[in-house]
């Protein structure tokens, strides 16, 4: 344990730097960058849509894909018999701050081939919109809603793009963005006032409110209208 103490502090110094490119690890040598069978196949098939390839944490292959062609690439990855990435493990986003583009991250896993692949699409801050993949995987429904809720990325053709974790009437923005302050944008008093002034429209979807025309759940009528109805026998 103490034998290493001579070189120990070198490692402290090296710590943060060595990881550039992800080949830092003192254990198993990093996988061959061309070692992943899907990468070459994707590059030959989609050419310019595959922007960049890197290997992270030793053996994790990351592909940067043209954000306008994400659906096409993902559909091919799901359906091609050589690839068969049938499980969409996760959809999330990363904000690096400083005006850098937001990344939408797809984690894929092929149950048959036991392979993982990570796809990233970069979206500039003034164009936060990308095709939804709910048509390919139903699991993307909630995952994309969460990304929309917390990052403000719009997913085109998503069937039900509403906030999911934050309240429907939340007006302070998208909390996981780097420009969002930890305590929120509004003052404590304003946040409390808003929390107390929620009504059922924030909780029920418009479709739910229509169900059976449930009494007492119709949108509130203006006060003078209510007076008129009381007058009529």
């Amino acid at each position: 344990m103490m034998d290493e103490s001579g070189s120990a502090f070198d490692a402290v110094e090296q710590g943060p730097e060595t990881s550039e490119g992800g080949t830092t690890t003192p254990r198993a040598p990093a996988g061959d960058p061309s070692g992943h069978p899907s990468v070459a196949a994707l590059q030959t098939r989609f050419g310019s849509a595959i922007l960049h390839h890197e290997v992270q944490s030793g053996d994790q292959h990351v592909l940067f894909v043209d954000a306008t062609r994400n659906r096409e690439v993902l559909e091919w990855l799901r359906d091609d018999p050589e690839q068969r990435y049938d499980l969409l493990v996760d959809v999330t986003a990363v904000d690096y701050g400083d005006g850098k583009p937001l990344q939408v991250v797809y984690q894929l896993w092929s149950i048959g081939h036991k392979r993982a692949l990570r796809l990233k699409c970069e979206l500039p801050l003034d164009g936060l919109s990308i095709d939804s993949v709910v048509g390919l995987w139903e699991t993307a429904n909630w995952l994309e809603r969460e990304v929309y809720d917390l990052f403000g990325i719009e997913f085109k053709d998503h069937p039900d793009l509403r906030r999911i974790l934050m309240p429907q009437n939340y007006a302070e923005g998208h909390p996981l963005r780097k420009d969002f302050p930890l305590r929120g944008r509004f003052s404590r008093a304003e946040q409390t006032r808003r929390a107390l002034s929620q009504d059922y429209h924030d909780d029920y979807t418009p479709e739910a409110l229509e169900v059976g025309g449930a009494p007492g759940l119709a949108p509130p009528e203006p006060e003078h209208a209510a007076d008129e109805t009381e007058d009529t026998p």
């Binding site: 502090f9 402290v12 830092t24 944490s57 996760d90 999330t92 036991k114 139903e138 909630w142 059976g212």
Partner: protein, 401 residues
């Protein structure tokens, strides 16, 4: 809306769908989950889950904490299997740093994770049984859970908020006699499990409530993102402990049970069998638990000894820097997943080389599993909706995060 209006046999009478609001304060929703149900009589036409009541923004909080300070946040997410969440988080950080923990630490974490699988499945078992009216299994299951609570307490000092892991090792090693208590649990727990088994597995009421309820095919289950026992109940053989082994799981002798029908009953049988398999793993891990240090001797994460700090300047500076700045994690990103008690539990970390993560993302198994409830419950009775919800084994702390 008109197509949902049901014509009654008697002319002139019409019925309309009804809106039923279930939760958020309802014990059968297993947490602060709200289900907005559209009913035709007692048949569920549509379910809209409403979540977010427990939202604590852990992922945002994580961006303001150093790598080790995040550990306490992880066990507050899944308070039904806290040690498992502690473990997977530090395992992901270690993967990102390229850090190999000691052999003893590996086995200790395997012990923790398998113990938590039983711990979590027991809560699922008890509450699910009580949802279909069986009170006794609930008491039996919670009696056994209490023993694991005590193991938590003697190991970490806390019953639920364990926070037992650190990057590069554990908070501490097991206290004296702890493994004997665990061995005792492993030895005696199968008896209780058999008792619960005999109460439920061939029980006519339980069968009637679970057979052919909430059926999902393997293909649909994959498409919907099911993982863990829920996916395996539909006949898909996907277990990260076998398919992408970590911590030498390939060297443990255990089976992964696979279901056939993908209904609530298969999900029940599967979790019962998983507990037995976890006991097998625990047994083997207790046998092989090696001696040696529990924390890795890597200056990037571990503190120098007190004697060193008192005697040489470099060690003291090193200690000071680790304490005041926290550990530095190399730039890059890393997705690391384990087979959690509820499904694939992943951590996605993005670092810029600093002492705090740029992004800390939890791949939440319960969140994804719950999103399927609308599909599963459609056409079933309200009482079956309760069973389906229970059979998914969700924990709201992790869904809302």
């Amino acid at each position: 809306m008109t197509e949902k209006i049901v014509e009654l046999p008697e002319p002139g009478l019409r019925s309309e769908p009804m809106l039923l609001n279930l939760g958020p304060q309802h014990p059968a929703t297993h947490g602060v989950l709200r289900l907005i149900c559209e009913l035709d009589g007692e048949t569920v036409l549509k379910v809209t889950p409403d979540i977010g009541f427990l939202h604590s923004s852990f992922e945002k909080l994580g961006e303001y904490r150093t790598w080790n300070q995040i550990v306490p946040l992880t066990d507050r997410m899944d308070y039904l299997a806290p040690l498992m969440y502690n473990c997977v988080y530090v395992m992901a950080v270690e993967k990102l740093m390229g850090l190999e923990v000691t052999e003893r630490c590996k086995v200790v974490r395997v012990l923790c994770m398998e113990m938590e699988r039983i711990f979590s499945h027991l809560l699922w078992l008890g509450t699910t049984a009580i949802d279909v009216g069986a009170f006794t299994p609930f008491l039996y299951a919670f009696q056994e859970r209490e023993r694991i609570y005590k193991l938590h307490e003697s190991f970490t000092g806390a019953r639920i908020t364990t926070s037992a892991t650190r990057v590069g090792g554990m908070m501490s090693d097991f206290p004296d006699g702890w493994t004997d208590s665990l061995r005792d649990f492993v030895k005696t727990f199968p008896k209780t499990l058999d008792e619960i088994d005999s109460l439920l597995t061939t029980n006519g009421i339980h069968l009637g409530r679970t057979l052919d309820i909430g059926v999902i095919s393997g293909e649909d289950a994959i498409n919907c993102g099911f993982t863990g026992p829920n996916l395996r109940a539909s006949g898909v053989d996907y277990d990260l402990r076998k398919d992408k082994p970590y911590y030498d799981y390939e060297t443990y002798d255990f089976d992964v049970p696979i279901g056939e029908n993908g209904d609530c009953y298969d999900r029940y049988l599967l979790r019962m069998e998983e507990m037995r398999q976890s006991l097998r793993i625990l047994d083997q891990a207790l046998e092989r638990l090696p001696d040696g240090p529990i924390n890795v001797a890597d200056p990037r994460v571990s503190l120098p000894s007190k004697t060193d700090c008192m005697n040489d300047m470099e060690s003291m500076i090193h200690h000071f820097k680790l304490i005041t700045e926290g550990i530095m994690v190399p730039a890059g990103d890393c997705y690391f997943a384990i087979e959690g008690s509820k499904g694939e539990l992943g951590m996605y970390l993005v670092s810029d080389g600093g002492e705090k993560p740029v992004r800390w993302r939890i791949r939440p198994p319960s969140f994804v599993n719950l999103s399927v409830i609308a599909k599963l419950a459609e056409g079933h009775l309200v009482s079956d909706l309760i069973m389906i919800n229970a059979s998914l084994d969700i924990v709201l702390g992790e869904i809302d995060r």
